[in-house]
Amino acid sequence: MKCIAFIQTKEGKANKASLEAAGLASGLGETVAVVSGHLEGDGGLGAVGVSRILHTAAQLDDSQMARLVSAAVEQESATVVVCAQDHLGKAVAGRIAVRIGAGLIAGVTATPIEGSYTRNVFSGKAMAQLKGTTDKLVVTTTPNAIGLPENTGTAASVEAFAPEIGQRKVEVLEEARPNSGDRAPLPEAELVVSAGRGLKGPENWGIVEDLADVLGATTACSRPVSDIGWRPHHEHVGQTGITIRPNLYIAIGISGAIQHLAGVNSSKVIVVINKDPEAPFFKAADYGIVGDAFEVVPKLTEAFKSL
């Protein structure tokens, strides 16, 4: 089986979600990566098992990316395309599937077993095991769900790649500005500290920021808190906001409504801090502290500091 991994780079390196996708591909068979935009060296792709990189320096829109990847599939006689289920995967993977006549299995959370892929359905309340019924298959990987393979210690070779990909139709007026500072973006974050109405007001977020700083975690919040403007919308996790699956999710002063759980229930470990022992979130938690956030959180921060 030959695979194409479609890669998103950040400052010349493959981002973490893309490395996970490439790692899954290299576990299936020989993997050639397709990269558009700035690339430094092999972008870290050799380490996850990519043998060669087809590179185009141009900044492309979604339609051009789909054409680029489809051209690579044809040139390499590949049968599987893998990319991350992030904003880019959501814009491009479906296009590639249509172009190459392949089935799409979106947002897989584990390496396949005998061609059967596992993904979350019903907003994390169940999983589905499914297969493609076409000769070719496009697979997208949920960020932070599949670990990276053992470092191969080798580098991938880079070849210029310039197939016919048509005209750009999307004009970028303003580049994205980072909204989480140096922290990992929420969908990729391994550690997340989140707080809700229990914090009583935006002026009290210092204790949340302090805890996140000590852990190097990304901050998040519940829906009511972003709706009333205590925190920015991009921090809202839950069904209507961002879905996350960090290794550790610490929820402070969040009751745990089902809509909130739908966005965070794939977290590997959930810690709930709430003064109400009846808060429904405790039922979904691995660890809990019943207590006043204003007393517990600073103590917890101190305890992490002394590690």
């Binding site: 296009r95 359905v121 309340k125 169940a126 500005r177 809509q259 979904a284 809990g288």
Partner: protein, 246 residues
């Protein structure tokens, strides 16, 4: 302006999830179905706002059987002008996207709006597939849509923040939070919806490209381990030594 809004039938968020036919089908018995929230709150409402400001109409479309009709009536009650039901049992994203694109192909919609994903299958795949069938741009996770000087101006979420883009001509978008606010249908809307056109069109007969072997429910959580509020250091120890996440 004419917009197509793609509507999916989805189980209510609070539904207890269970499966049938050897765990290969979602058990719909006793389930309350709703308009997929992102299709309704974000995509439909934004299309209605644009038509209210500029004139035109909003057509809603869904792939499904007669069981979809109450969902389409609900969307008509919120304000959509016409509904179309493509008469096929929805099987996967590839099939649904091919059917919707086939319907939209010669209709010259200014834009096609979808929610960011459905809350049952969560694939977020249909918008990009439709865009490829129609050879137009796909704007995934769009958070705003305006029109200026004959161009659509959109904002979308990317890995590093919010990007502002412009598109001349038609496109498909998947709408995320920020696009619009939920609207509650009023009695007048509900009454009016009864007499709005709901057209049933035959399906193209597109094939699914994936098949579900089985559904699995996650293992129950072991139960919460409570730690004394006076001793958060114990939590740190457990996270390090037992859960091994820090």
């Amino acid at each position: 302006m004419e917009f197509l809004v793609c509507i999916s039938k989805a189980p209510d968020t609070t539904t207890r999830i269970a499966f049938t036919e050897g765990d290969t089908r979602f058990n719909e018995e006793g389930v309350q179905f709703i308009v997929n929230p992102y299709d309704e709150w974000y995509a439909l409402v934004r299309a209605l706002e644009l038509v209210e400001a500029n004139g035109g109409k909003v057509v809603i479309a869904s792939v499904g059987g007669a069981d979809c009709d109450p969902i389409l009536r609900k969307a008509l009650a919120i304000g959509a002008h016409e509904a179309v039901r493509i008469d096929a049992k929805p099987e996967d994203s590839a099939q649904v996207a091919a059917e919707l694109a086939h319907y939209a192909k010669d209709k010259n919609f200014d834009a096609i709006l979808c929610g960011k994903e459905t809350i049952d299958h969560n694939t977020s795949a249909v918008p990009a597939m439709m865009a490829e069938h129609l050879d137009v741009p796909c704007v995934a996770l769009a958070t705003s849509l305006e029109y200026e000087g004959g161009k659509a101006i959109l904002k979308r979420e990317t890995a590093s923040g919010i990007e502002k883009i412009a598109i001349q001509g038609s496109f498909v978008l998947s709408a995320a939070k920020g696009m619009a606010e939920q609207r509650i249908p009023n009695m007048r809307g509900i009454m009016a919806a009864r007499s709005k056109p709901l057209q049933i069109v035959p399906a193209l007969g597109a094939a699914a490209a994936t098949t579900v072997d089985r559904f699995v429910l996650p293992a129950d959580k072991a139960g919460v381990k409570l730690i004394d509020a006076e001793n958060p250091a114990e939590l740190v120890r457990l996270l390090r030594e037992e859960a091994k996440v820090i």
